[in-house]
Amino acid sequence: MVKKRVSIRNHSAEANLFARRTFITFIGVVVMILILFNNIYELEVNSFEKYTTRSNKNRIKVLPVVPNRGLIYDRNGVLLAENKPVYSLAIIPEQVDNIEETLQELGEIIAIRDEQKQEFLKDMRGTRRFKPIELISRLSDQQVAKISVSLHKFPGVTIDARLKRYYPFGDLTTHSLGYVAKINRNDLIKIDQEGKSENYKATRDIGKLGLEKYYEDLLHGTIGHQEVEVNNQGRILRTLSYTPPVPGKDITLTLDIELQMIAKRALVGRRGAVVAIDPRDGGVLALYSNPSYDGNLFVHGISSKNYKKLQNKNRPLINRATKGTYPPASTIKPLLGLAGLDANVTTPEAKLWDPGFFKLKDGKRKYRDHLKWGHGWVRLEEAIMRSCNTYFYDLAYKVGIDNISEKMAGFGFGESTGIDIHEESSGVLPSRGWKRARYNQPWYHGDTVNIGIGQGFWTVTPLQLAQATSILVNKGTVFEPHFLYATHEQKSDDLLAEVSNEEDNVQDNQPYTLVPYEVNEKPPLQLKNSKHWDTILKAMHRTVKHPSGTGFGAFKGSSYDAAGKSGTGEVVGRAQDTDYDATKISESNRDNAMFIAFAPFENPEIVVAVAIENVAVGGGGSNAGPVARQIMDQYFANKTYLSKKQPLIKKSQ
């Protein structure tokens, strides 16, 4: 080894070595730069789409914009369901210097409860400072006015408005309109299953009952979108695009709010229901169940105290018009008469001796008439007019249960009518098969006899009764009952300009056209001899017109030509030979009063069915008859007004 001090360093060799090594490192540097560049190329060129999407997902938030719910009008354009602004007070903490002070000063203008304050302060801790936090969720109009005046003194304090459903007629319309209320978990699951989650992103309330539920899709509308740019804190910086929501469709009902009012007044203090139908198209003119309740209570979430109040023994939550099931009693006699004629077991001229009771050939039991001494010789017309039980015991026995079941099913008993609300009972139309399935018992002749006066196992809803009567007055033509009269379709702008020139058409000046509801017509009911219809209808006419008819008192002196039939339904079976004394039995066991009516006798426009539970004195003729009368009086008093709306077009035509 050479000592470095003495050796002469080979500078040239060292420089060459260094240059080589430097060159190698330079190659290394170039390779590394290529690696970096390749990686950036991979990100910016090959994955450009992916990262652009993710970048946009970062910065672009799509805010759903809730569509306004469609309004609901009655047939004369009276608003039944509207959207009213509800005001809330919110504070944006970022814009307030001293929250405590502001709360203090606000508290001097309107009352702020301690729990509201606590809730607010709690929310404030968990929320971004630029987001408004609600302090008071519902302000009264007075409070809104008070705060609005001095709002300029409170930077960062805002009054927010959002629309809530409001039913101006309250309990008058609840059993038909139903109500909307806050979407709950079950609703969410259902919305999800129906694939509507996207459309309900911003929606708070959903139809829970009645028409609001049935026509939810029509009334709801289509959600709108606001695309905004946000920063990493979620603060909205600007709006990029806006797709307005499509408001829900407004709808007009066949319902007449004035008839509803009359129905309510007529049923005051009693449990019962009224249904009025236009037999020409199945449109429901009135449907009222008493007692009722205010649907508005549910819109903002009902308190448990209020809810308890609604669960009393009068059960206001039950829609008696569609879910109350009653024995049809004597109101069914005209239809049974029709069945008898059609089955050829009787004729209009055939006479029957009524001794005051009916006895099966080999039986001991006496089926009593309401007249102890009997009606004597009666024909079909008189039997209907005076409501002779013996005649119909005999008739039912002769027609037989199988035939009766089949015929009555044709009038819609034992099944739902298909009305456009979901709350409907099908009642019970008894038959051999039904009794076997229900009680596992054979059908007895005695059962058939009871059917003859609409008692026994047979139960119907007032709506079914009205519907059956409609079929009768239509002589077999069946329209499904419905509330919907028309949907309001927005006109396009050029169409609007076009119609504005036509001055004569009043309706066309409105920015929408009415698209009429398509009435569902079912296969008609056919009789062997269509003259039988007239026989029965005439008997019902006589019931009202003849002084000894059970409906005479109720319609005495009416300006229109009505026809009808009363019924008094036994709630509990009574042993034979005991007299009925309302004062001696408990209130809930008293008789039900029933009545069906239609008018005018020629070309009927309105059919009414009334059911009143547990009347103290009298039967259907004296209790339910006058209710039907009041409805009809109102209908015909206002007829010129009403006639503006013609019956709807039938689907089959």
């Binding site: 430097t22 490192t25 950036i40 060129v45 450009f48 992916k50 652009t52 740019e229 920063n231 910086l237």
Partner: protein, 373 residues
């Protein structure tokens, strides 16, 4: 190769830049890079002019330091390197014993009138010391010398890693190792040390790395696992770069940076802002500027007159490139996040001044020529 330094050259009138000891290609490249940096800082800092002004002041100081350092002949460093290195070691020891804790790491020494980061000194004096040591002997070095030199490298490296400052210890270690490589350490030795480093990695993982450092490595390996936690930085950075595309979103138009989705925008992750706004074309330009600086540095090294200056110039240049590679690599998801700034573009002080000082040394090497006899 000594033709340039004949009397004919000497007779040539020296230019002003030569008198000032300024290497103009290097200076121009640096100024270009700084200008780009200022524009990106303006964008990344939410268009805050105050931020830009502060960076301009820092760059001014950096340029001044570079200028001063350039005036000192390299022989001066050759003489003083070891002493400063030893002082630096003592200060590192002091940091470990009574250092100031900031951001969870002990890096600062509080001298009463100022806070001081001794590891920065090592960035300069580590390559100087190793170059001094190696250049005393014939090249290529003997294995014995290489091993001794390697030990000298590891001592401060481990001390800095213990602070813990993984980024800086990495830079300091590589600055020393580059000297060894350039001095012609045998490939066999290089192979062996590679093997040793690989063997050392598990020890590093188990005994030396802090939890947050381990987390960084784990996050690097799978950033999507914890997109809102530790992986957030890398994911947002990759989104920023990727969404830039070929031409970029345009200056001040980068949504990832302007809307603050990108963390550490004007410091460590400034490259992501740059790529988002200027795209692949911008990146290409930026990489070319860096390549230009590296090429000039290596050229100075090759042209340097003796082993010490050659090794020093080469090492400083390559260390500068390590900055670039580690920063861009970590921001684009190639490497774990180790907190190395993008040199001369990232906003920030200490390391920039050290970098400028090393460019001063490069200029000194390039301009102080001794006559060879």
């Amino acid at each position: 190769m000594n033709m340039r330094y004949t009397g004919k050259d000497q007779a040539k009138k020296r230019t002003l830049l030569e008198i000032l000891h300024i290497d103009w290609p290097l200076l121009l490249s640096l100024l270009l890079l700084m200008t780009v940096g200022l524009f990106v800082i303006y964008s990344a800092g939410g268009q805050d002019m105050a931020l830009v002004t502060r960076q301009v002041v820092r760059l001014g100081i950096g340029l001044a330091v570079m200028f001063v350092v350039a005036q000192i002949p390299p022989s001066f460093y050759q003489r003083w390197a070891v002493i400063v290195f030893l002082i630096g070691l003592l200060m590192l020891l002091a940091v470990l014993l009574f250092g100031h804790v900031g951001k969870g790491a002990q890096r600062w020494l509080d001298l009463g009138f100022m806070k001081f980061q001794p590891s920065e000194i090592m960035k300069l004096f580590m390559p100087m010391t190793i170059a001094w040591y190696i250049s005393q002997y014939d090249l290529p070095s003997k294995t014995k010398h290489v091993i001794i030199a390697f030990a000298i490298v590891m001592l401060p490296t481990l001390m800095i890693a213990k602070q813990p400052d993984l980024g800086t210890s990495l830079l300091i270690a590589s600055s020393g190792i580059f000297v060894l490589f350039l001095s012609g350490a045998s490939w066999r030795l290089i192979g062996i040390s590679f093997g040793m480093v690989s063997a050392f990695l598990p020890i590093l993982w188990m005994f030396l790395m802090r939890d947050y450092q381990k987390q960084r490595v784990l996050t690097f390996l799978n950033p999507e696992e914890d997109p809102l936690g530790t992986g957030y930085h890398i994911i947002q950075s990759k989104i920023a770069i990727g969404s830039g595309g070929v031409n970029g979103k345009g200056w001040l138009q980068g949504t990832q940076s302007q809307l603050e989705f990108l963390p550490e925008r004007h410091t460590d992750f400034i490259f992501a802002v740059f790529s988002e706004e200027f795209g692949l074309m911008g990146v290409l330009g930026l990489l070319l500027i860096y390549l230009l600086i590296v090429m000039r540095g290596l050229w100075i090294a090759v042209k340097a007159q003796d082993a010490f200056t050659k090794l020093l110039a080469g090492s400083l240049t390559l260390t500068f490139f390590v900055y670039v590679f580690v920063n861009i690599g970590m921001v684009s998801g190639l490497l774990p996040v180790v907190g190395v700034p993008l040199p001369l573009v990232s906003y920030g002080g200490t390391s920039m001044v050290t970098l400028m000082a090393s460019f001063g040394v490069l200029m000194a090497i390039s301009t102080h020529r001794r006559l060879l006899t």
